[in-house]
């Protein structure tokens, strides 16, 4: 048998990883027995080459799928590019999408620092949108706009945090895995949204298509640029910097990092481990809730059954694409937002399902998870 003991393989990979710690192999060195691994000893330039190759391969495979579907891949990719970056409208749409995705990515980043998987961003976003709309209905336009927006935002954050508290508390009290429970709760949140939109909060004026009543003007985020680009993107970028600072420079962020790196060490250091884990999930849920609030007050202005569909999952991917780094999440969210917006182009020019862009996102992520980064344990 050709089996290599796992322990040895793992050692190998430790040594080869990372642009920072690996010295470039001098030319002419005799190749070790496993030539594939030796090629992975990379310097900074080789790292860039690997990223480019991995992303290029993802694009190629995607093009092959499009061709297999009978579409002209070059034409389809151009249509995607045009609709995301082609003109100021496209760029605006990309920015509009970036706002909830970035907030949703941060909702994964914070719990991940504490070693927790928050896959419930989707449900937390939906609940945030519901909370925001509920608060707006309750205020009923009786309060000045700045106050209204703050209250609506807080309601969204609170609703998202409350939804994330469920998997967090289940984890702490019953040890039920938070990745699984938060994932299942996404479906529950979607059904709560359907219930409100089709029954409880249904706008009598919505005949065939169900939606809730339109938000009053005071509950709308101010427009920043053009007709649609709203100030949510500023809020999201601000949040990214705040989270970056929190995780990097505060004692709380340090404790989260210790907890995520070594729970036993955190416990022995006397940290309140349960409180930290709960706080990390709550902050994550609140961020996702704000994402839902931003989408409903900035774009939709009402609840619709398919609003935010898939955003939570794309945000999860954005967080992994950025290796859970808050500032890099800005770039990764924007990249995935652009691909998502490109889906419209694909739909219009090639008549392909908008969900087909999920293939490209998945391929990019596979390339990055498996090929463009060092092994994680």
């Amino acid at each position: 048998m050709t089996a290599v003991p796992d322990a040895i393989v793992e050692q190998d990979v430790e040594q080869q990883s990372g642009p920072s710690d690996a010295a470039p192999a001098p030319a002419g060195t005799p190749a070790p027995d496993d030539s594939r691994r030796s090629r992975l000893h990379v310097g900074p330039i080789a790292g860039v080459i690997r990223w480019t190759l991995a992303l290029g391969a993802a694009l190629l495979i995607y093009a092959a799928f499009l061709a297999a579907r009978g579409a002209d891949p070059v034409e389809a990719l151009r249509a995607m590019w045009d609709s995301a970056f082609g003109d100021s409208t496209g760029l605006g749409e990309t920015l509009i999408r970036t706002a909830p995705l970035l907030l949703g990515a941060l909702a994964v980043v914070v719990p991940a620092r504490a070693g927790l998987f928050n896959i419930g961003g989707q449900g937390q976003m939906v609940m945030g949108a519901i909370g925001a709309v509920g608060m707006s209905f309750a205020l009923d336009g009786n309060v000045a706009q700045p106050v209204t927006l703050v209250l609506v935002g807080l309601a969204g954050a609170a609703a998202g945090a409350a939804w994330s508290a469920i998997p967090a508390l289940l984890r702490l009290t019953t040890n039920a895995n938070e990745a699984i429970t938060s994932l299942l709760l996404n479906y529950v949140a979607g059904l709560v949204l359907s219930w409100l939109v089709f029954e409880r909060w249904k706008d009598p004026a919505s005949l065939g298509q169900a939606f809730s009543e339109e938000l009053d003007a005071k509950s709308r985020l101010p427009i920043l640029w053009g007709e649609r680009v709203h100030s949510g993107i500023l809020l999201a970028v601000l949040a990214a910097f705040v989270i970056w600072w929190l995780l990097r420079s505060t004692a709380w962020g340090f404790r989260l990092g210790v907890l995520g790196g070594n729970p036993e060490a955190a416990r022995r250091a006397g940290f309140r481990v349960e409180g930290l884990a709960l706080a990390a999930m709550l902050v994550g849920g609140a961020l996702a809730g704000v994402a839902g609030m931003v989408e409903v007050t900035g774009v939709e202005a009402r609840l619709r059954p398919d609003m935010l569909a898939g955003y939570g999952y794309i945000a999860f991917l954005a967080s992994w694409l950025a290796r859970h780094h808050p500032l890099k999440s800005i770039v990764s969210s924007m990249a995935l937002a652009a691909i998502a917006v490109g889906g419209f182009g694909l739909k219009i020019s090639a008549g392909l399902s908008g969900a087909a862009v999920n293939v490209l996102m998945a391929l990019v992520l596979l390339a990055v998870l498996g090929f463009a980064r060092k092994k994680e344990v």
Binding site: F65, I180, V192, E199, S353
Partner: protein, 297 residues
């Protein structure tokens, strides 16, 4: 009404039971595959298309198994060969499955299906009450019910099963015998994906009888949760699968009979059931988990 609920539970449980049994193998070997949801979708669409184009439902189910296995192979390669994070990769694989099935399934939305017909078992299906509940179903449902005990036999009474369990509990034992845990994990993951694919095939060609985007609505994720409920035991998996499908069937019957409760809230009950079950059992299950699994999960 009880008869209708139980009949619906058995027919609807098939699409859950296959992936639960499959994921049991995968997790026993030390890999967790959230791509099960994607494998189910791939199986559902592939079986649907091949069933129509070839005219054979069985060929369709087989193709569904291959499609599910192909996605699981992606997961296995990423996780086992490239060392990527299991949870993240699983979700990405599901995302890939959603996208691919949306891309290739578009023209089949609302098309007629080549469906599995019910095969009543002679004599047994005539028994009042029990007959219609258990013995008047599509063939895949019978296979699913048998697959539970069969998987148990394979897992606990065969050499292959022993190797799968060793890969999950003590990979170094396999190494000592000159075998590779990685190879076994590859096999177990691909096997899990193929069973998830068959589950999807049953869903589209024997149960709902249509194809629509994202039609599994979390069944694959539920399957992964039920493996924990079943304590990685294929026999208990049967109970888990029918508990979930029973909740769905009950909810459908309540809807059909008209209740005051919103249908949307009723639809949430099966998911909540699974969450409650997980909460009730998780502490209990902690030491049943395969050793290697608890390291990644």
């Amino acid at each position: 009404m009880l008869e209708a609920v139980l009949t619906g539970a058995v027919a609807g449980g098939t699409s859950i039971l296959f992936p639960v049994v499959g994921e049991t193998f995968t997790e026993r070997s030390g890999v967790i595959n959230l791509g099960t949801e994607g494998s189910m979708l791939a199986g559902a669409l592939t079986a649907y298309i091949v069933g129509i184009e070839s005219g054979s439902v069985w060929l369709g189910a087989l193709a569904g198994a291959v499609a599910g296995a192909a996605l699981a192979l992606v997961h296995a390669f990423m996780v086992l060969t490239r060392g990527a994070n299991q949870i993240a990769t699983g979700l990405v694989v599901t995302f890939l499955g959603i996208g691919l099935t949306a891309l290739f399934g578009q023209d089949y939305v609302g098309q007629g299906v080549n469906a599995f017909a019910a095969v009543p078992i002679p004599v047994l299906s005539d028994i009042p009450f029990i007959g219609p509940i258990l013995f008047n179903h599509d063939p895949l449902t019978y296979i699913a019910i048998i697959s539970g005990p069969l998987a148990w036999l394979v897992l606990f009474r065969t050499r292959f099963g022993l190797m799968v369990r060793a890969a999950g509990e003590r990979p170094e034992v396999l190494v000592a015998y000159g075998m590779s845990a990685t190879q076994i994990r590859y096999l177990a993951t691909v096997l899990g994906g193929s069973l998830a694919g068959i589950g999807g095939a049953q869903l589209s060609t024997a149960f709902t009888l249509n194809w629509s985007e994202n039609m599994t609505v979390g069944r694959g994720f539920v399957a992964v949760s039920l493996v924990i409920f079943a304590a990685w035991d294929p026999l208990k998996a049967i109970i888990g699968a029918y508990l979930f499908s029973g909740a769905i069937a009950l909810q459908l019957q309540l809807q059909a009979r008209g209740t005051d409760v919103s249908q949307y809230l009723l639809q949430a009950v099966p998911y909540l059931t699974v969450i409650v079950i997980l909460a009730a059992l998780s502490r209990h299950r902690a030491h049943d988990a395969p050793e290697s699994l608890s390291r990644v999960f």
